[in-house]
Symmetry: C2
Subunit: 321 residues, 2 copies
């Protein structure tokens, strides 16, 4: 298996320019003697970084197929649906039946055909449907082109982050590891002064365990389903684990309460709406000062959140303490 | 009275670089056959564009005084407090006693001394305190350097907005008119293909009335206080009216319900937290398609909003219709 290269990521950046937002690094005030920038991928049209990888993969499917298919907890599904529509392809999205309704509705609104299945059956149903319909499978993270597309997040951080004595840490949420793979590949090539650290919910801490034991460990879905960060319940794939082993400095975990508190912080201090998965890297900044150091970028991976949950647990609970 | 020039704005941009965030133009999806970008000044450290003008004015006060003083409904007060702290000056902020508590607390947290007074007494109390303490007054909008600083919003839009056949419209909220003065000055110089339109709450529609009657009309504070957009209750000053008469294409008004619906739209589609005043330009995009045309930038002026109001009226009411 070939790893993604910096050239793959540079080509992806050219390919997806115009389809995705070039997000800023936004400094967040109120962190007391430490410096935090966020990269708000929640400002992408679908509200998540996933549009980068999907756009890169779909752009390369044009002329090879009329239909793309994927499985997704929602944001990747939306991304594939949007990218397919932009390139004149049909999209089929297989979604686990425990995904939040807001995400299912959003994929449907992008014009994709939706198939709801139990979480465990996702992969097999995708293969079955792909064979029936002659569709090209674009996996959410176990895909070379998708990883290269997500790597453009790292390319932009490399361009925007000032060079600082003592360096800085880039914090990236880990689910299946596509974003972490791409970002760490880009920064290893372009910014050796920067350390890349993955952040994961303790309740879905399979990547941290894999990283520290140097072998890919999978947790059953029944176990990872406990975290509120529904975008980060996936296992790593061999492909993403290979990138992570090579380029990532560390993977740390955070508690559910730390994740929700990070959502509150980003609402209050950043005026940014984030889903729990999207706030996990920011939670890592506060939970692990010794690992992270005094200066960090936290990637906000997405902002598609149930409004009622968000109003009650984040907005009205966000008063400074 | 001399008007602000494009050179003043260019110098301001150099002076405040590093103190303010270079915000992106973010395309917002879901506008049906029209194109909307927003410029989210809510992502400034104080949550509002006011940091630009305040930083430009405070930077020039260094060496001339040890104390700056202003009156403000909150965001300008926070901005002066933050800019003063950054430049080693003391700040006194006179705030009307009907300002939201969240804004008063935020100014206090920046280390400024706060004086609460009835709205009508703001100007006189500032003069009195300035004389007593030898402090330099930095008015929220009736100030050459403040307008030049706000103009950097226009400079950045000029740099980022693609040149489009048929041009585009830039929508700017109007309270005292400082932001509209600066933005329209910059775009008149740099982008003659772009029209600048002010947007104002109908319930504080003094600027629209002034613009259409070609004479500066002031509404009593008891009248403008009815709008929920508390940042836009101010009158124009002679200085801002002069810029607006020269450079602005039109001023339109929006209803309270249109403002709140724009907050919901920006939450739902932009994942951006905005205060009502901050959403007024976006409300204008939807309310006045004939004036605005098919492509527009809406400046989001700020995001400091009461969490309980926001949770109830925006977040949980934000489901697509």
């Amino acid at each position: 298996m070939e790893l993604v290269t910096i050239d793959d990521i540079r080509q992806a950046a050219k390919r997806i320019e115009g389809d995705v937002v070039r997000t800023s690094l936004v400094p967040i005030d109120g962190t007391v003697d430490r410096t935090l920038w966020v990269k708000p991928e929640s400002l992408q049209p679908i509200g998540a970084f996933k549009l980068r990888g999907a756009s890169n993969a779909v752009a390369q499917a044009v002329g090879r197929t009329s239909t793309v298919i994927t499985h997704s907890s929602g944001n990747h599904g939306q991304a594939i649906a949007m990218a397919a529509a932009a390139h004149g392809l049909r999209a089929i999205v297989v979604i686990p039946d425990d995904a939040p309704q807001i995400k299912i509705d959003a994929v449907r609104a992008r014009g994709a055909q939706i198939v709801l299945v139990p979480g465990e059956e996702r992969a097999s149903r995708v293969e079955q449907l792909a064979a029936q319909k002659g569709a090209l499978v674009i996996a959410p993270y176990d895909d070379h082109d998708v990883i290269a597309g997500q790597g453009t997040v790292g390319l932009e951080i490399a361009e925007d982050l000032p060079e600082l004595p003592g360096g800085a840490t880039v914090l990236v949420p880990v689910g299946g590891g596509g974003l972490l793979s791409g970002v760490s590949t880009a920064l290893a090539a372009l910014r050796p002064d920067v350390r890349v650290v993955g952040v994961e919910p303790e309740l879905a801490g399979d990547a941290a365990e894999s990283f520290h034991r140097h072998t890919l460990i999978r947790w059953p879905r029944s176990r990872t389903a406990r975290t509120i960060a529904d975008g980060l319940r996936s296992d790593l794939a061999d492909r993403t684990f290979a990138h992570i082993e090579k380029y990532v400095s560390d993977i740390v975990t955070v508690t559910e309460e730390q994740i929700i508190e990070a959502c509150r912080f980003l609402y209050r201090r950043g005026r940014l709406v984030t889903e729990p998965s999207g706030a996990v890297a920011t939670a890592g900044f506060f939970a692990h000062p010794q690992v992270v150091g005094d200066r960090a970028v936290a990637v906000i991976s997405g902002g598609n959140v149930d409004p009622h949950w968000y109003a009650e647990n984040v907005v009205t609970s966000s008063a400074p303490r």
